[in-house]
Symmetry: C2
DNA sequence: ACATTAACGGAGGCACCCCTCCACTTCACT
DNA sequence: AGTGAAGTGGAGGGGTGCCTCCGTTAATGT
């Protein structure tokens, strides 16, 4: 169905290995991870990496897009919950997913064209959750989804003593978003 | 008074120039700024940089300590204000000071020995402000100063569209810290 | 003025990373 | 099995940063 011509079997394997290795490397080292290390740990030559992903940005995007996909899909899981529950559960999941993946955090700081569409999908998934909570009177109405996303992504990126503290701080922040007494 | 032997005049000048250049460089490039660039833009040789600061960490610490000093001193300026006002004003100032200085943000994520004492001074300056607000019933009592600091430092580091949004998001977060109605 | 010595600075060796190029290998199709 | 095209991988050239070493410069004290 997609207009892409099918990849040869070995090429497909290598490409997948590269994506997995890159996801791991970007998670640990941020977007400046060494491409040679990525190729090595994927078990392919550096040339293969460059054929699949001519620029660092291409590789970064490929990893990033699939990460985000997983995140957006999670928004469907919370559709059944009460408005505030739905929003806060999704945001919690966002933080848990993204905490070790600087890629996602870095993406939100950037303004590159490739991220535009990704960010839009992010909005498509999360913004309705906020609006629903606002209409239900559960969330304050003087904030936009962009505000919430950045608030949460800041927490994602900050260092914490342990996961427990991260949860606690996130809860504080979410209380700020909740409709006041 | 200090046990240090006095530096020769030119040495002192160079040291100061290095600190200024490093502060600038760390602000722009984060803690991985090129040491050779720092030396160059301070107008000294790389050898001079290494004599004054044998490791990158030494230089980073030296810059960082003076930045933090300025911040802590700001806590005195707010002593006259009402409890909640005092806390939130100081935190706002913290964000404004630190927003462009990744060094401070990075420091909070780290656990190196040199940062221990610095963090303590941070606490000495800010913790009383939180406690005062808590005793006055203006801040919730189930948060520690460490939680607040990390919440705020996350916001410091996150990317925002403009300063206005940063202020708005910070206000939301602070509402989470405030005593709930 | 001059000797002493702290301080200087940058060349050079090392390590790492980026990216290109092309001789070689492997797949897929017959 | 054979063949052509798709795919591979890593050597190599260029760049940058780190840090040491030591011949040179200049501040200080008399």
């Amino acid at each position: 169905m997609p207009g892409e011509k099918p990849l040869r079997a070995d090429a497909r394997r290598n490409r997948d290995a590269l994506l997995a290795a890159a996801a791991e490397a970007f998670a640990v080292h941020g977007s400046t991870a060494s491409l040679e290390d990525i190729a090595r740990s994927a078990g392919v030559g550096i040339g293969t990496l460059y054929r699949n992903f001519p620029t660092r940005q291409d590789l970064f995007d490929a990893v990033y897009l699939s990460e985000i996909d997983r995140l957006c899909r999670a928004a469907e899981d919370v559709a059944e919950l009460a408005p505030w529950q739905a929003l806060s559960t999704w945001l919690r999941r966002f933080v848990r997913y993204a905490a070790t993946k600087r890629a996602i955090y870095e993406a939100l700081s950037r303004d590159s064209a490739a991220f535009r569409d990704t960010r839009e999908r992010m909005y498509a998934a999360g913004e309705p959750l906020l609006e629903r909570a606002q209409k239900a009177g559960a969330a304050r109405v003087d904030v936009g989804f962009d505000d919430v996303l950045r608030l949460v992504s800041g927490i994602t990126a900050a260092g914490f003593v342990d996961e427990e503290q991260r949860e606690r701080v996130l809860a504080i922040a979410l209380d700020g978003v909740r409709r006041q007494g």
